[in-house]
């Protein structure tokens, strides 16, 4: 099913025979699966440093095996579920979250079309003519992961968390989409590889600075990270929408959250930070491309953690007024000004 979905939509640039697409699907999933524990460990270590303590340092050298121990602990736990919960939705909701996160990861281009052992392979899961719209489509489905998880738990805390999450997701998705419109108009393409190629002259975070900031802030809200984590708000809601989840199902939500952070960093890298391009006109050989992308992504991930350690959680009404009264007008103005500039300069 995965391969057919990948093979179906027409790719803009180049697209490979079916067996390469299967291999790519597996490789991308493996990369995503292995990046998440790394991000987890880095976050806990960095949070420790920010709070003047060590962070995990018992399991393995420098605590490097801590995520592995956590995963093992979670997976061997009992699959508990409350009596008031709705059985099949309770089991389904975390899989929706994880599925949409992995599907969105397929969009991030890690490099140009390369020649590997004589076959031409694009270093991305799929290069769609609808680009960011695919991302928003899966973002829309991801909403059901949180919403159904909270509703089917049959608990008030979970329900409130899910409702807050739902309102927050719809509010910020608008600004997130509008922030990208400026980039799309400047590059004149929806294909993410096309957007990267259009940044040969200048990375878009300079001419599209307003769009960059709005997209970044909206992405923090979309991934439910601090300062926008009222869906989980442990001071008021125990753990929000995933209060009743334990064991493997909680691990799924956890995994999806960190994978979403990675996806958002990848999209920011691709759209605003020039993807696999190097600054100052350096053109390295093709195998460097993924390293460049991962380096830029790790900067954004660091920013995520830095802000988590620095900024306190916003109140729910503050989040709503920030989204609708600040970010949305900014994003709209940015799109309008860009539209005028594009018409004038062409």
């Amino acid at each position: 099913m995965t391969t057919s979905v990948l093979a179906l939509p027409a790719t803009v640039g180049y697209y490979e025979p079916w067996w390469i697409q299967i291999i790519k699907a597996i490789v991308i999933f493996a990369v995503a699966l292995n990046l998440v524990p790394v991000v987890l460990l880095v976050e806990r270590k960095l949070l420790g440093r920010f709070q003047i303590r060590y962070g995990p340092n018992r399991v393995g050298p420098y605590g490097a095996l801590q995520p592995l121990a956590d995963i093992l602990k979670l997976l061997t736990k009992e699959q508990f579920r409350p009596r008031t919960s709705v059985g099949f939705l309770f089991a389904l909701a975390p899989t929706i979250s994880i599925l949409t996160a992995v599907a969105a990861f397929a969009l991030i281009p890690f490099g140009n079309v390369q020649s590997i052992f004589g076959t031409r392979v694009g270093l991305y899961g799929v290069d769609l003519s609808i680009g960011p719209l695919y991302l928003f489509a899966f973002g829309a489905i991801a909403f059901y992961g949180i919403m159904l998880g909270g509703w089917s738990s049959g608990s008030k805390y979970s329900f409130l968390g899910a409702m807050r999450g739902a309102a927050q997701l719809i509010s910020y998705e608008v600004s997130q989409g509008l922030a990208l419109v400026g980039v799309i108009m400047t590059s004149q393409t929806l294909s993410l590889t096309g957007i990267v190629r259009a940044q040969g002259g200048m990375w878009y975070f300079i001419p599209q600075f307003v769009g960059f900031v709005v997209f970044l802030v909206a992405s923090f809200a979309e991934t439910n990270r601090t300062p926008f984590d009222v869906t989980e708000a442990d001071a008021e809601l125990v753990a929000g929408y995933n209060t009743e989840f334990g064991g493997g199902r909680f691990a799924s939500y956890y995994f999806a959250e960190y994978l979403n952070v990675l996806v958002v960093s990848g999209i920011v890298t691709t759209v605003f930070l020039g993807g696999w391009l190097m600054p100052f006109g350096i053109h390295p050989p093709g195998w460097v491309d993924p390293i460049v992308v991962l380096t830029k992504m790790s900067f954004i991930v660091f920013l995520f953690i830095w802000i988590r350690a620095t900024v306190p959680r916003l109140r729910y009404d503050q989040i709503m007024s920030l989204g609708w009264k600040v970010l949305l007008p900014l994003a709209t103005a940015n799109a309008l000004v860009t539209a005028v500039l594009v018409v004038v300069t062409h």
Partner: protein
């Protein structure tokens, strides 16, 4: 492969649509509608209408249905189904039921005319072929061009209608806010 996906999506679409009508709990009714819309998006993908598929998911499954889920989850489940509630409400209910039958038959006739008149001609043909390139059939560029040239009037009217709706929503919300003001002040004090 496309035949398999077609039948999976088609069965999903029909099952979702019947589920909306038959399921008692409104929350599951809404979820079944979401399933129906997602299956339709898969069918659009088979027809090489990528943009339409993405818009289908973003707008309907992502925005419209979210509001439905919101309302149903907050308000909670009604015990009786729609038809049961209509049955018990006297002459108004009877009128509504008769009206529903008339409207249902009218829509069915219209659909059948449309389908038998045109749709079945294409049933033995293949869909639009795969053409790489940014301006191929079904891509955003192609649809955008159509919207701003051939269907410009309809496009502008639709956008105007949406603007009116948005302004109306703001006006209504503002009026509610005026009424709610003294109460809020009391809570604050």
């Amino acid at each position: 492969m496309s035949a398999v996906i077609f039948f999976v999506a088609a069965i999903g679409a029909i099952a979702g649509a019947t589920g909306v009508v038959l399921i008692r709990d409104p929350f599951f009714s809404v979820l079944s509608l979401v399933g129906h819309l997602l299956s339709l998006a898969a069918l659009f993908l088979l027809l090489r209408a990528e943009l339409v598929a993405a818009v289908q998911v973003v707008v309907y499954a992502g925005a419209v249905m979210v509001l439905y889920v919101f309302v149903v989850a907050y308000v909670g489940g009604e015990e009786a189904t729609l038809s049961e509630r209509l049955r018990g409400s006297g002459p108004v209910g009877q009128g509504l039921r008769a009206g529903a039958v008339v409207v249902g038959v009218a829509i069915l006739t219209e659909l059948l005319i449309a389908m038998l008149g045109t749709g079945l001609e294409a049933i033995h043909k293949d869909g639009a072929g795969y053409v790489p390139g940014p301006h191929a059939f079904g891509t955003p560029a192609y649809i955008g061009q159509l919207l701003l040239t051939r269907f410009l009037l309809a496009f502008e009217i639709a956008s105007f209608l949406l603007l009116i709706a948005a302004v109306g929503a703001v006006v209504l919300a503002g009026r509610m806010h005026e009424h709610a003001e003294p109460e809020q002040a009391r809570v604050g004090a």
